[in-house]
Protein backbone atom coordinates (compact mmCIF):
# COMPACT_ATOMS: atom_id res chain seq x y z
CA UNK A 1 0.00 0.00 0.00
CA UNK A 2 2.71 2.44 0.97
CA UNK A 3 4.67 1.77 -2.20
CA UNK A 4 1.73 2.22 -4.57
CA UNK A 5 1.61 5.77 -5.97
CA UNK A 6 -1.48 7.75 -4.96
CA UNK A 7 -4.47 7.46 -7.29
CA UNK A 8 -4.48 11.22 -7.68
CA UNK A 9 -1.67 13.64 -7.01
CA UNK A 10 -2.31 17.32 -7.69
CA UNK A 11 0.53 19.72 -6.96
CA UNK A 12 0.29 23.50 -6.96
CA UNK A 13 -2.28 23.55 -9.74
CA UNK A 14 -3.27 26.98 -11.01
CA UNK A 15 -5.39 27.77 -14.03
CA UNK A 16 -6.96 30.75 -15.72
CA UNK A 17 -9.50 30.48 -18.54
CA UNK A 18 -8.65 32.17 -21.85
CA UNK A 19 -11.03 35.02 -20.98
CA UNK A 20 -8.76 35.85 -18.03
CA UNK A 21 -10.98 34.43 -15.30
CA UNK A 22 -8.70 32.62 -12.87
CA UNK A 23 -10.37 29.56 -11.37
CA UNK A 24 -7.55 27.77 -9.52
CA UNK A 25 -4.83 29.40 -7.43
CA UNK A 26 -2.49 26.58 -6.44
CA UNK A 27 -4.37 23.42 -5.47
CA UNK A 28 -2.64 20.54 -3.70
CA UNK A 29 -4.47 17.26 -3.32
CA UNK A 30 -3.41 13.70 -2.70
CA UNK A 31 -5.91 10.86 -2.87
CA UNK A 32 -4.60 7.44 -1.90
CA UNK A 33 -5.50 4.19 -3.53
CA UNK A 34 -8.99 2.96 -2.59
CA UNK A 35 -9.92 6.16 -0.72
CA UNK A 36 -13.34 7.74 -1.10
CA UNK A 37 -13.07 11.51 -0.91
CA UNK A 38 -15.76 14.17 -1.20
CA UNK A 39 -14.87 17.45 -2.89
CA UNK A 40 -17.02 20.15 -1.36
CA UNK A 41 -17.35 23.83 -2.06
CA UNK A 42 -19.77 26.56 -3.11
CA UNK A 43 -20.69 27.25 -6.73
CA UNK A 44 -17.80 28.91 -8.53
CA UNK A 45 -15.19 27.46 -6.17
CA UNK A 46 -13.33 25.80 -9.06
CA UNK A 47 -14.51 22.22 -8.50
CA UNK A 48 -15.39 21.54 -12.12
CA UNK A 49 -12.19 23.20 -13.33
CA UNK A 50 -10.19 20.93 -11.05
CA UNK A 51 -12.06 17.83 -12.22
CA UNK A 52 -11.42 18.67 -15.88
CA UNK A 53 -7.69 18.83 -15.12
CA UNK A 54 -7.69 15.30 -13.74
CA UNK A 55 -8.10 13.75 -17.19
CA UNK A 56 -6.38 16.47 -19.19
CA UNK A 57 -9.43 18.11 -20.77
CA UNK A 58 -8.08 21.35 -19.34
CA UNK A 59 -4.36 21.99 -19.03
CA UNK A 60 -1.76 24.63 -19.67
CA UNK A 61 -1.71 26.35 -16.30
CA UNK A 62 0.89 26.00 -13.54
CA UNK A 63 1.44 22.84 -11.54
CA UNK A 64 1.28 19.10 -12.05
CA UNK A 65 -1.32 16.35 -11.98
CA UNK A 66 -0.55 12.64 -11.99
CA UNK A 67 -2.81 9.62 -11.92
CA UNK A 68 -1.39 6.54 -10.20
CA UNK A 69 2.07 7.87 -10.93
CA UNK A 70 1.42 8.75 -14.58
CA UNK A 71 1.77 12.48 -15.31
CA UNK A 72 -1.20 14.04 -17.10
CA UNK A 73 0.34 15.29 -20.30
CA UNK A 74 -0.50 15.13 -23.97
CA UNK A 75 1.31 11.92 -24.86
CA UNK A 76 -0.30 10.07 -21.92
CA UNK A 77 -3.85 11.25 -22.55
CA UNK A 78 -5.36 7.96 -23.79
CA UNK A 79 -4.08 6.08 -20.73
CA UNK A 80 -4.97 8.96 -18.38
CA UNK A 81 -8.54 8.96 -19.69
CA UNK A 82 -8.73 5.24 -19.11
CA UNK A 83 -7.51 5.66 -15.54
CA UNK A 84 -9.79 8.58 -14.67
CA UNK A 85 -13.47 7.83 -15.20
CA UNK A 86 -15.58 10.97 -15.00
CA UNK A 87 -19.32 10.61 -14.53
CA UNK A 88 -20.92 13.89 -15.55
CA UNK A 89 -23.91 15.38 -13.84
CA UNK A 90 -26.49 14.96 -16.60
CA UNK A 91 -26.70 11.32 -17.71
CA UNK A 92 -28.20 12.49 -21.00
CA UNK A 93 -24.84 14.10 -21.78
CA UNK A 94 -22.99 10.91 -20.97
CA UNK A 95 -25.27 8.42 -22.69
CA UNK A 96 -25.24 9.34 -26.35
CA UNK A 97 -25.26 5.94 -28.06
CA UNK A 98 -28.50 4.32 -29.25
CA UNK A 99 -28.46 1.56 -26.64
CA UNK A 100 -27.14 1.13 -23.12
CA UNK A 101 -24.86 -1.72 -24.17
CA UNK A 102 -23.25 0.27 -26.98
CA UNK A 103 -22.71 3.17 -24.65
CA UNK A 104 -20.98 1.04 -22.03
CA UNK A 105 -18.90 -0.44 -24.87
CA UNK A 106 -17.89 3.00 -26.18
CA UNK A 107 -14.90 3.43 -23.83
CA UNK A 108 -13.51 -0.12 -24.15
CA UNK A 109 -13.78 0.10 -27.96
CA UNK A 110 -11.87 3.38 -27.91
CA UNK A 111 -9.19 1.48 -26.01
CA UNK A 112 -9.05 -0.91 -28.96
CA UNK A 113 -9.99 -3.99 -26.95
CA UNK A 114 -11.03 -7.14 -28.85
CA UNK A 115 -14.79 -7.71 -29.11
CA UNK A 116 -15.09 -10.68 -26.70
CA UNK A 117 -13.30 -8.60 -24.05
CA UNK A 118 -15.58 -5.63 -24.78
CA UNK A 119 -18.67 -7.82 -24.35
CA UNK A 120 -17.35 -9.24 -21.08
CA UNK A 121 -16.62 -5.78 -19.71
CA UNK A 122 -20.04 -4.46 -20.71
CA UNK A 123 -21.75 -7.34 -18.93
CA UNK A 124 -19.58 -6.96 -15.83
CA UNK A 125 -19.99 -3.17 -15.62
CA UNK A 126 -23.77 -3.34 -16.00
CA UNK A 127 -23.86 -6.05 -13.36
CA UNK A 128 -21.82 -3.88 -10.97
CA UNK A 129 -24.40 -1.10 -11.14
CA UNK A 130 -27.38 -3.42 -10.89
CA UNK A 131 -28.41 -2.96 -14.51
CA UNK A 132 -27.61 -6.41 -15.88
CA UNK A 133 -29.95 -7.23 -18.75
CA UNK A 134 -30.49 -3.61 -19.77
CA UNK A 135 -27.87 -3.70 -22.54
CA UNK A 136 -30.34 -3.62 -25.42
CA UNK A 137 -32.52 -0.84 -24.06
CA UNK A 138 -32.36 2.72 -25.40
CA UNK A 139 -31.31 5.16 -22.65
CA UNK A 140 -34.46 7.28 -22.92
CA UNK A 141 -36.55 4.30 -21.80
CA UNK A 142 -34.78 4.22 -18.42
CA UNK A 143 -35.65 6.13 -15.26
CA UNK A 144 -33.35 8.97 -14.24
CA UNK A 145 -31.80 6.88 -11.46
CA UNK A 146 -31.18 4.00 -13.84
CA UNK A 147 -29.57 6.36 -16.34
CA UNK A 148 -27.29 7.72 -13.63
CA UNK A 149 -26.19 4.17 -12.74
CA UNK A 150 -25.64 3.30 -16.39
CA UNK A 151 -23.50 6.44 -16.68
CA UNK A 152 -21.35 5.01 -13.89
CA UNK A 153 -21.12 1.73 -15.81
CA UNK A 154 -19.91 3.55 -18.94
CA UNK A 155 -16.70 4.45 -17.13
CA UNK A 156 -16.42 1.29 -14.99
CA UNK A 157 -16.08 -0.70 -18.22
CA UNK A 158 -12.76 1.08 -18.79
CA UNK A 159 -11.43 -0.32 -15.47
CA UNK A 160 -10.54 3.09 -14.08
CA UNK A 161 -8.08 3.74 -11.28
CA UNK A 162 -10.29 6.51 -9.96
CA UNK A 163 -13.96 7.29 -10.40
CA UNK A 164 -14.82 11.00 -10.42
CA UNK A 165 -18.49 11.78 -9.87
CA UNK A 166 -19.98 15.21 -10.51
CA UNK A 167 -23.00 15.73 -8.23
CA UNK A 168 -23.97 12.05 -8.24
CA UNK A 169 -27.09 12.51 -6.10
CA UNK A 170 -28.60 15.47 -7.97
CA UNK A 171 -32.16 14.99 -9.21
CA UNK A 172 -32.39 11.50 -7.73
CA UNK A 173 -35.39 10.44 -5.70
CA UNK A 174 -34.59 8.96 -2.25
CA UNK A 175 -34.72 5.39 -3.53
CA UNK A 176 -32.49 6.22 -6.50
CA UNK A 177 -30.09 7.95 -4.15
CA UNK A 178 -29.90 4.91 -1.87
CA UNK A 179 -29.46 2.51 -4.79
CA UNK A 180 -26.60 4.59 -6.17
CA UNK A 181 -24.97 4.73 -2.73
CA UNK A 182 -25.12 0.94 -2.48
CA UNK A 183 -23.48 0.65 -5.90
CA UNK A 184 -20.73 3.14 -5.07
CA UNK A 185 -19.97 1.58 -1.68
CA UNK A 186 -19.44 -1.81 -3.29
CA UNK A 187 -17.00 -0.57 -5.94
CA UNK A 188 -13.35 -1.43 -5.36
CA UNK A 189 -12.03 1.81 -6.87
CA UNK A 190 -10.83 5.17 -5.63
CA UNK A 191 -13.68 7.69 -5.65
CA UNK A 192 -13.62 11.47 -5.82
CA UNK A 193 -17.12 12.82 -5.44
CA UNK A 194 -17.98 16.45 -6.19
CA UNK A 195 -21.13 17.35 -4.31
CA UNK A 196 -23.28 19.88 -2.49
CA UNK A 197 -25.08 17.03 -0.79
CA UNK A 198 -23.31 16.99 2.58
CA UNK A 199 -25.21 14.04 4.11
CA UNK A 200 -24.34 12.01 1.02
CA UNK A 201 -20.68 12.96 1.45
CA UNK A 202 -20.84 11.82 5.07
CA UNK A 203 -22.53 8.57 4.12
CA UNK A 204 -20.03 7.62 1.41
CA UNK A 205 -16.76 9.43 2.00
CA UNK A 206 -14.69 9.14 5.20
CA UNK A 207 -12.63 12.13 4.04
CA UNK A 208 -13.63 15.49 2.57
CA UNK A 209 -11.80 18.34 0.92
CA UNK A 210 -13.26 21.84 0.80
CA UNK A 211 -12.35 23.98 -2.20
CA UNK A 212 -13.14 27.68 -2.21
CA UNK A 213 -11.75 30.57 -4.18
CA UNK A 214 -9.56 28.20 -6.17
CA UNK A 215 -7.63 26.78 -3.20
CA UNK A 216 -8.09 23.90 -0.76
CA UNK A 217 -9.30 25.49 2.48
CA UNK A 218 -9.94 22.35 4.50
CA UNK A 219 -9.07 18.67 4.29
CA UNK A 220 -9.99 16.12 6.93
CA UNK A 221 -12.46 13.53 8.17
CA UNK A 222 -15.90 14.36 6.77
CA UNK A 223 -17.60 14.12 10.14
CA UNK A 224 -15.22 16.66 11.71
CA UNK A 225 -15.52 19.11 8.83
CA UNK A 226 -19.29 18.96 8.84
CA UNK A 227 -19.35 19.51 12.62
CA UNK A 228 -17.38 22.75 12.19
CA UNK A 229 -20.19 25.28 11.82
CA UNK A 230 -17.81 28.22 11.33
CA UNK A 231 -15.97 26.48 8.51
CA UNK A 232 -19.23 25.63 6.75
CA UNK A 233 -20.57 29.17 7.13
CA UNK A 234 -17.35 30.71 5.76
CA UNK A 235 -17.63 28.68 2.58
CA UNK A 236 -21.37 28.79 1.91
CA UNK A 237 -21.86 25.16 2.82
CA UNK A 238 -25.05 24.26 4.62
CA UNK A 239 -26.40 21.13 6.18
CA UNK A 240 -30.06 20.27 5.58
CA UNK A 241 -32.46 21.45 8.26
CA UNK A 242 -32.30 19.26 11.35
CA UNK A 243 -29.27 17.28 10.20
CA UNK A 244 -26.66 16.66 12.89
CA UNK A 245 -23.48 15.04 11.53
CA UNK A 246 -22.30 14.00 14.99
CA UNK A 247 -25.35 11.85 15.56
CA UNK A 248 -25.47 9.87 12.32
Amino acid sequence: MSTAPPSLLVEDLAFAYPDGHQALFGVDLRVGRGERVALLGPNGAGKTTLVLHLNGILSGGRGRVSVAGLPVERRNLPEVRRRVGIVFQDPDDQLFMPTVGEDVAFGPRNLGLPEPEVAARVAAALDQVGMAGAADRPPHHLSFGQRRRVAVATVLSMHPEVLVLDEPSSNLDPAGRRELAEVLEALPVTVLMVTHDLPYALQLCPRSVVLDGGVVVADGPTRELLADADLLARHRLELPYGFDPTRV
Binding site: D92, F96, P98, E102, F106, N110, L111, V118, P138, P139
Partner: protein
Protein backbone atom coordinates in the same frame (compact mmCIF):
# COMPACT_ATOMS: atom_id res chain seq x y z
CA UNK B 1 -38.51 12.78 -17.47
CA UNK B 2 -41.64 11.00 -18.46
CA UNK B 3 -40.56 10.73 -22.07
CA UNK B 4 -43.02 8.34 -23.64
CA UNK B 5 -41.77 5.24 -25.29
CA UNK B 6 -40.94 5.87 -28.89
CA UNK B 7 -40.86 9.63 -28.69
CA UNK B 8 -41.21 12.01 -31.61
CA UNK B 9 -39.23 9.86 -34.02
CA UNK B 10 -40.61 6.58 -32.74
CA UNK B 11 -44.16 7.58 -33.66
CA UNK B 12 -43.74 5.98 -37.09
CA UNK B 13 -42.87 2.62 -35.59
CA UNK B 14 -45.50 -0.08 -35.05
CA UNK B 15 -44.16 -2.60 -32.56
CA UNK B 16 -44.37 -6.20 -33.69
CA UNK B 17 -42.51 -9.44 -34.25
CA UNK B 18 -43.50 -10.22 -37.84
CA UNK B 19 -41.08 -11.62 -40.39
CA UNK B 20 -40.67 -8.09 -41.76
CA UNK B 21 -39.88 -6.70 -38.31
CA UNK B 22 -37.23 -9.33 -37.78
CA UNK B 23 -35.31 -8.63 -40.99
CA UNK B 24 -31.99 -6.84 -40.66
CA UNK B 25 -32.55 -3.13 -41.32
CA UNK B 26 -30.04 -2.83 -44.15
CA UNK B 27 -31.72 -5.62 -46.12
CA UNK B 28 -35.02 -3.77 -45.80
CA UNK B 29 -33.44 -0.49 -46.92
CA UNK B 30 -32.02 -2.17 -50.01
CA UNK B 31 -35.37 -3.83 -50.71
CA UNK B 32 -37.34 -0.56 -50.49
CA UNK B 33 -34.84 1.34 -52.61
CA UNK B 34 -34.82 -1.40 -55.27
CA UNK B 35 -38.62 -1.56 -55.24
CA UNK B 36 -38.85 2.22 -55.74
CA UNK B 37 -36.36 2.01 -58.63
CA UNK B 38 -38.43 -0.69 -60.37
CA UNK B 39 -41.60 1.36 -59.86
CA UNK B 40 -40.00 4.52 -61.22
CA UNK B 41 -38.50 2.64 -64.19
CA UNK B 42 -41.96 1.58 -65.39
CA UNK B 43 -42.75 3.54 -68.60
CA UNK B 44 -45.76 5.77 -67.92
CA UNK B 45 -47.17 5.73 -71.44
CA UNK B 46 -47.03 1.96 -71.98
CA UNK B 47 -50.53 0.49 -72.34
CA UNK B 48 -49.73 -2.15 -69.71
CA UNK B 49 -48.56 0.41 -67.13
CA UNK B 50 -51.81 0.43 -65.09
CA UNK B 51 -51.68 -3.36 -64.82
CA UNK B 52 -48.07 -3.14 -63.62
CA UNK B 53 -49.04 -0.52 -60.99
CA UNK B 54 -51.76 -2.85 -59.78
CA UNK B 55 -49.23 -5.67 -59.54
CA UNK B 56 -46.84 -3.50 -57.50
CA UNK B 57 -49.71 -2.43 -55.25
CA UNK B 58 -50.61 -6.06 -54.55
CA UNK B 59 -46.97 -6.77 -53.65
CA UNK B 60 -46.49 -3.81 -51.31
CA UNK B 61 -49.87 -4.35 -49.64
CA UNK B 62 -48.98 -8.01 -49.15
CA UNK B 63 -45.76 -6.90 -47.42
CA UNK B 64 -47.80 -4.56 -45.23
CA UNK B 65 -50.18 -7.40 -44.38
CA UNK B 66 -47.33 -9.74 -43.44
CA UNK B 67 -45.90 -6.97 -41.24
CA UNK B 68 -49.37 -6.34 -39.71
CA UNK B 69 -49.18 -2.62 -40.43
CA UNK B 70 -52.68 -1.23 -39.83
CA UNK B 71 -54.41 0.47 -42.75
CA UNK B 72 -54.69 3.71 -40.80
CA UNK B 73 -50.92 3.78 -40.36
CA UNK B 74 -50.45 3.33 -44.13
CA UNK B 75 -52.92 6.13 -44.81
CA UNK B 76 -51.08 8.47 -42.46
CA UNK B 77 -47.85 7.62 -44.22
CA UNK B 78 -49.37 8.79 -47.47
CA UNK B 79 -49.82 12.31 -46.08
CA UNK B 80 -46.25 13.20 -47.07
CA UNK B 81 -47.39 12.74 -50.64
CA UNK B 82 -49.87 15.63 -50.57
CA UNK B 83 -47.64 18.20 -52.35
CA UNK B 84 -47.16 15.75 -55.23
CA UNK B 85 -50.89 15.23 -55.46
CA UNK B 86 -51.43 18.96 -55.90
CA UNK B 87 -48.83 19.03 -58.66
CA UNK B 88 -50.34 15.96 -60.30
CA UNK B 89 -53.82 17.51 -60.29
CA UNK B 90 -52.47 20.54 -62.14
CA UNK B 91 -50.79 18.51 -64.87
CA UNK B 92 -53.90 17.66 -66.97
CA UNK B 93 -54.85 21.35 -66.98
CA UNK B 94 -51.52 22.73 -68.13
CA UNK B 95 -50.09 19.98 -70.35
CA UNK B 96 -50.40 20.27 -74.15
CA UNK B 97 -51.44 17.80 -76.83
CA UNK B 98 -54.78 16.11 -77.68
CA UNK B 99 -57.49 16.95 -75.18
CA UNK B 100 -60.48 15.10 -73.74
CA UNK B 101 -63.67 16.44 -72.18
CA UNK B 102 -64.21 15.38 -68.56
CA UNK B 103 -67.18 16.87 -66.69
CA UNK B 104 -67.06 19.89 -68.95
CA UNK B 105 -63.33 20.45 -68.42
CA UNK B 106 -60.96 20.24 -71.33
CA UNK B 107 -58.04 18.11 -70.10
CA UNK B 108 -54.82 17.09 -71.79
CA UNK B 109 -54.65 13.38 -72.55
CA UNK B 110 -50.91 13.09 -72.02
CA UNK B 111 -51.27 15.26 -68.93
CA UNK B 112 -53.77 12.80 -67.50
CA UNK B 113 -51.48 9.84 -68.14
CA UNK B 114 -48.50 11.68 -66.66
CA UNK B 115 -50.51 12.71 -63.61
CA UNK B 116 -51.80 9.19 -63.13
CA UNK B 117 -48.31 7.76 -63.46
CA UNK B 118 -46.88 10.31 -61.05
CA UNK B 119 -49.57 9.60 -58.47
CA UNK B 120 -49.24 5.83 -58.81
CA UNK B 121 -45.45 5.86 -58.55
CA UNK B 122 -45.40 8.25 -55.60
CA UNK B 123 -48.08 6.30 -53.76
CA UNK B 124 -46.37 2.94 -54.29
CA UNK B 125 -42.97 4.24 -53.19
CA UNK B 126 -44.39 5.99 -50.15
CA UNK B 127 -46.29 2.84 -49.17
CA UNK B 128 -43.08 0.81 -49.30
CA UNK B 129 -41.24 3.44 -47.25
CA UNK B 130 -44.12 3.48 -44.75
CA UNK B 131 -43.87 -0.29 -44.28
CA UNK B 132 -40.13 0.16 -43.70
CA UNK B 133 -40.66 2.93 -41.13
CA UNK B 134 -43.43 1.00 -39.40
CA UNK B 135 -41.32 -2.13 -38.98
CA UNK B 136 -37.92 -0.63 -38.19
CA UNK B 137 -37.00 1.48 -35.18
CA UNK B 138 -35.19 4.73 -36.01
CA UNK B 139 -31.96 3.59 -34.38
CA UNK B 140 -32.12 0.36 -36.38
CA UNK B 141 -32.53 2.39 -39.56
CA UNK B 142 -29.37 4.29 -38.69
CA UNK B 143 -27.58 1.01 -38.08
CA UNK B 144 -28.80 -0.21 -41.46
CA UNK B 145 -27.49 2.91 -43.19
CA UNK B 146 -24.18 2.42 -41.43
CA UNK B 147 -23.97 -1.13 -42.72
CA UNK B 148 -24.66 0.15 -46.21
CA UNK B 149 -21.51 2.30 -45.83
CA UNK B 150 -23.17 5.67 -45.52
CA UNK B 151 -20.29 8.07 -44.66
CA UNK B 152 -19.50 7.90 -40.94
CA UNK B 153 -20.13 11.61 -40.37
CA UNK B 154 -23.68 11.33 -41.70
CA UNK B 155 -24.28 8.18 -39.65
CA UNK B 156 -23.14 9.98 -36.50
CA UNK B 157 -25.32 13.01 -37.20
CA UNK B 158 -28.34 10.75 -37.70
CA UNK B 159 -27.50 8.68 -34.61
CA UNK B 160 -27.23 11.79 -32.44
CA UNK B 161 -30.48 13.11 -33.88
CA UNK B 162 -32.26 9.86 -33.00
CA UNK B 163 -30.75 9.84 -29.52
CA UNK B 164 -31.44 13.48 -28.66
CA UNK B 165 -34.77 14.12 -30.42
CA UNK B 166 -36.54 13.09 -27.22
CA UNK B 167 -34.30 15.14 -24.99
CA UNK B 168 -34.68 18.30 -27.09
CA UNK B 169 -38.44 17.96 -27.55
CA UNK B 170 -38.67 17.35 -23.80
CA UNK B 171 -36.92 20.67 -23.21
CA UNK B 172 -39.17 22.36 -25.73
CA UNK B 173 -42.23 20.97 -23.96
CA UNK B 174 -41.01 22.13 -20.54
CA UNK B 175 -40.34 25.61 -21.93
CA UNK B 176 -43.85 25.74 -23.39
CA UNK B 177 -45.39 24.59 -20.11
CA UNK B 178 -43.35 27.21 -18.24
CA UNK B 179 -44.48 29.94 -20.67
CA UNK B 180 -48.12 28.98 -20.49
CA UNK B 181 -48.01 28.57 -16.72
CA UNK B 182 -47.25 32.27 -16.56
CA UNK B 183 -50.25 33.16 -18.61
CA UNK B 184 -48.70 33.25 -22.09
CA UNK B 185 -51.06 32.57 -24.97
CA UNK B 186 -49.53 32.06 -28.38
CA UNK B 187 -51.67 34.54 -30.32
CA UNK B 188 -50.98 37.74 -32.20
CA UNK B 189 -47.76 39.21 -33.56
CA UNK B 190 -46.45 39.89 -30.05
CA UNK B 191 -46.39 36.16 -29.38
CA UNK B 192 -43.97 35.67 -32.24
CA UNK B 193 -41.23 37.50 -30.36
CA UNK B 194 -41.66 35.24 -27.34
CA UNK B 195 -41.68 32.06 -29.43
CA UNK B 196 -38.59 33.26 -31.32
CA UNK B 197 -36.81 33.87 -28.03
CA UNK B 198 -37.72 30.36 -26.90
CA UNK B 199 -36.37 28.93 -30.13
CA UNK B 200 -33.14 30.85 -29.59
CA UNK B 201 -32.86 29.61 -26.02
CA UNK B 202 -33.46 26.05 -27.18
CA UNK B 203 -30.74 26.44 -29.79
CA UNK B 204 -28.24 27.72 -27.22
CA UNK B 205 -29.15 24.94 -24.79
CA UNK B 206 -28.76 22.29 -27.47
CA UNK B 207 -25.45 23.78 -28.54
CA UNK B 208 -24.21 23.67 -24.95
CA UNK B 209 -25.45 20.13 -24.58
CA UNK B 210 -23.46 19.26 -27.70
CA UNK B 211 -20.36 20.64 -26.03
CA UNK B 212 -21.02 18.62 -22.87
CA UNK B 213 -21.58 15.45 -24.86
CA UNK B 214 -18.32 16.05 -26.67
CA UNK B 215 -16.57 16.49 -23.32
CA UNK B 216 -18.04 13.21 -22.09
CA UNK B 217 -16.87 11.50 -25.27
CA UNK B 218 -13.33 12.86 -24.91
CA UNK B 219 -13.26 11.76 -21.29
CA UNK B 220 -13.83 8.21 -22.41
CA UNK B 221 -10.96 8.25 -24.85
CA UNK B 222 -12.85 9.14 -28.02
CA UNK B 223 -10.70 10.00 -31.02
CA UNK B 224 -13.63 11.23 -33.10
CA UNK B 225 -14.13 7.91 -34.84
CA UNK B 226 -17.20 6.05 -33.64
CA UNK B 227 -16.18 2.44 -33.18
CA UNK B 228 -19.06 0.00 -33.26
CA UNK B 229 -19.35 -3.68 -32.64
CA UNK B 230 -19.24 -6.44 -35.20
CA UNK B 231 -22.30 -6.88 -37.40
CA UNK B 232 -23.91 -10.28 -37.58
CA UNK B 233 -23.75 -11.92 -41.00
CA UNK B 234 -27.07 -12.07 -42.83
CA UNK B 235 -28.02 -15.51 -44.19
CA UNK B 236 -29.02 -15.78 -47.84
CA UNK B 237 -32.52 -16.79 -46.74
CA UNK B 238 -33.05 -13.43 -45.00
CA UNK B 239 -31.82 -11.51 -48.03
CA UNK B 240 -34.21 -13.48 -50.23
CA UNK B 241 -37.10 -12.71 -47.87
CA UNK B 242 -36.28 -9.01 -47.88
CA UNK B 243 -35.73 -8.86 -51.63
CA UNK B 244 -38.97 -10.72 -52.39
CA UNK B 245 -40.67 -7.34 -52.76
CA UNK B 246 -38.35 -5.79 -55.39
CA UNK B 247 -37.83 -9.15 -57.13
CA UNK B 248 -41.59 -9.58 -57.43
CA UNK B 249 -41.90 -6.04 -58.74
CA UNK B 250 -39.07 -6.71 -61.20
CA UNK B 251 -40.93 -9.78 -62.45
CA UNK B 252 -44.05 -7.69 -63.00
CA UNK B 253 -42.02 -5.09 -64.92
CA UNK B 254 -40.31 -7.75 -67.03
CA UNK B 255 -43.62 -9.41 -67.81
CA UNK B 256 -45.06 -6.07 -68.90
CA UNK B 257 -42.12 -5.36 -71.18
CA UNK B 258 -42.08 -8.81 -72.77
CA UNK B 259 -45.81 -9.37 -73.14
CA UNK B 260 -47.10 -5.82 -73.45
Amino acid sequence: MGAGHGGPLGAAYVAGTSAVHRLEPHTKLVAVLAFALVVVATPVHAPWAPAAYAGYAVLVLAAAAVARVPAGRLARGLLVEVPFVVFALLLPLVARGPRVEVLGLSLSESGLTAAGGLLAKATLSVLAATVLAATTEPRELVRGLQRLRLPAVLVQILAFMVRYADVVTGELRRMRVARESRGFRGRGPGALRVVATSAGALFVRSYERGERVHLAMLSRGSTGRLVTGPAAAVPLQAWLTALALPLGAGAVLAAGMLLG
